[in-house]
Amino acid sequence: MAKQIKVSLIGNPNTGKTSVFNLLTGLNQRVGNYPGITVEKKEGVCKLNNGTKAHILDLPGTYSLNASSLDENVVIEVLLNKKNKYFPDVAVVVTDVENLKRNLLLFTQIKDLEIPTILVINMADRMSRKGISLDIPTLEKELDTKIALISARKEQGIEQLKKCIEQYATLSQAPCLDPLSFEPDYFSRLQKAFPNQSLYKLWLVITQDVNFRKVNKQEITIDPDFKIKTESELKRLQQKETIKRYQFINAVLKKGFTIDKSTATGFSAQLDEILTHKVFGYIIFFMILLLIFQAIYGWTSYPMDLIDEGFAWLSETAKANLPSGPFVDLITDGIIPGLGGVVIFIPQIAFLFLLISILEESGYMSRVVFLMDRLMRKFGLSGKSVVPLISGTACAIPAVMATRNIENWKERLITILVVPFTTCAARLPVYLIIISLVIPDEKIGWVFGYQSLTLMFLYLLGFITAVGSAWLLNKILKIKSKSYFVVEMPGYKVPLFKNVAINVIEKTKAFVFDAGKIILAISIVLWVLASFGPNDKFNKAEETVTQQYNDLSEEELENKIASHKLEYSFIGYAGKAIEPIVAPLGYDWKIGIGIISSFAAREVFVGTLATIYSVGSDDEGTIKNKMASEVNLVTGGPLFNLASGLSLLLFYAFAMQCMSTLAIVKRETNGWKWPTIQLVSMSALAYVAALIIYQILK
């Protein structure tokens, strides 16, 4: 068997680390999570020329080993613990030639861990434009390692990098700096106490102990005498360390790095003049937002219709060609429509991820953060909350995960709590069918129809509620946290197609599988509950109905039997049981079932109604007709009128009806406290709002 090399890919954010990873591994990569935490783990395999396989682990982007976030802490866990499954044979540190000085800070830290460390200097294609020249042999000598000068954009230099990885065993493992130079007093005491340990590793364990208190200490145990008591003492030492490292780096770069500013061009600076302008910057941002919404709700309707029809056809074909029986029913009425409910969101989700990853890759997202921070802070949010709030219009799950780079815990928590108010794609089918039922299809003036205005109002309502409740939470929550806010403004770059494509595919896949599992499970449970009943009223439905109505056509009879069965099925009884609770909102037991099943996922609503109103396919036209002819048994009028329709719309706008979101909030906030608060308060708000509007309008 060929020998395998374990490689860790490390680097600051915005250095093109992911491009290097994609180039080395191609599509031969896997995305998962580190055990127990939700930090994304990317692994891939790269075949080297001598037949060896390199297992490459793409570690989260970090500015240093002084980790302050969960993502960054993973890097330390992997590099510090030799027993870790991922502990590398060789570390590859990716740097950007334009920010070499800052990027080398991390390099010196990794090198000091006494791991063979290859330095990759990326974006070599920008050197001439920026007037940069490098003396690679000198730099290699000063930094005591091999350097690969590459351009991931032009796909140059990768072979050289592969060769460096192949020959990792020849690399020096000597550290760059001696920790004694940071602060002789403290570190010499530490060395005396643990003469056999690497001083820098000891130091990292101590710093992690102050920040996280949970690093795996199997290898090194620290005497309490050396624990640093206060954060400010720790910071003082870390500041000294940082200064010493920069002194070392400056000395190295003086010998091997020259920049001729006269030949440098400032393309990014000129773009910033417009894109971060006090007036134009905002206009451009709102134009981009409009474009995103148009893309998600306009352009994706064609593929979505196709998917919808495709699944209806699949279900029908299966029905026609498979022998009938309960198992086939489960497939045709439970699983296929259930899967269709997930797949239908793929175009929207993929489009949103596409646009967001283009904006992120180009460097524009940091400018949005810069423009919006002041405004968002008024509501207890951060400029960095803008991305989650935009993502939330597709799906709250990636939105909650996108809050990770908000440094301030209070701002991050508030963002997580309010994001589910934004109108996600799953609410759309519910909104569309109810709007078409209760809002007249008429126009005010020439352009605006009542129906589209209602839809726009619902989007605005979601956003206003999110921001308003953020403001309220900011007043209520007593969490002390410092105003940590540092955003790097990377130079503008044309996004690399390969990076964007891989990102879209991975994110969409994750959504489909995560949400898919739950939706699939719910649709099976629903189907079982609707297909079996506790007593004879259910089992003898066919006889009862046939006796009652003997003059109906076969098709009408079948529909009658189905709805009779439903009424006396398990789910029918459950619906009847909750009817007293939902009656004040203007709903009957059938809508009650729709709402209950929606607590798993909102998009289940239309499918549930389809089952309940005994319509075979999910075709909205027929469900709509059925719904329009439903009668409210109390008032005698139509069940879906303006009052009950608006009440339903408000209920869906406010209620926390998504198990997947609750699960992800639980993971991101480390406990059931916040998701429970979210579920209870949002649902209470939904109930009260729906109650008020129905009681006023009825």
Binding site: T242, I243, D272, F370, Y484
Partner: protein, 75 residues
């Protein structure tokens, strides 16, 4: 009044004199916001917050209250 990054005018350059406060995030120091380094205020968002700086070759944005804790000397 002390001269800090928060009191710089647009386009003005200065040298960082001292960073003493515990409130300065370590990340800022790691990005090169250290005594002796040059800082330039590129622009600010409306109401002067956040502030867009170039420090040590890094382009970054920080909030005004942090900028107000970094003492500088205008050059």
């Amino acid at each position: 009044m002390k001269t800090t990054i928060a009191t710089l005018r647009r386009g003005q350059r200065a040298l960082i004199k001292e960073i003493t406060s515990d409130n300065i995030p370590l990340k800022l120091l790691e990005m090169g916001c250290l005594p002796g380094n040059e800082v330039k205020l590129v622009r600010t968002a409306p109401f002067e917050c956040p502030m867009y700086l170039v420090v040590n070759g890094s382009h970054l944005a920080i909030r005004k209250e942090i900028a107000a804790q970094i003492e500088v000397q205008i050059i």
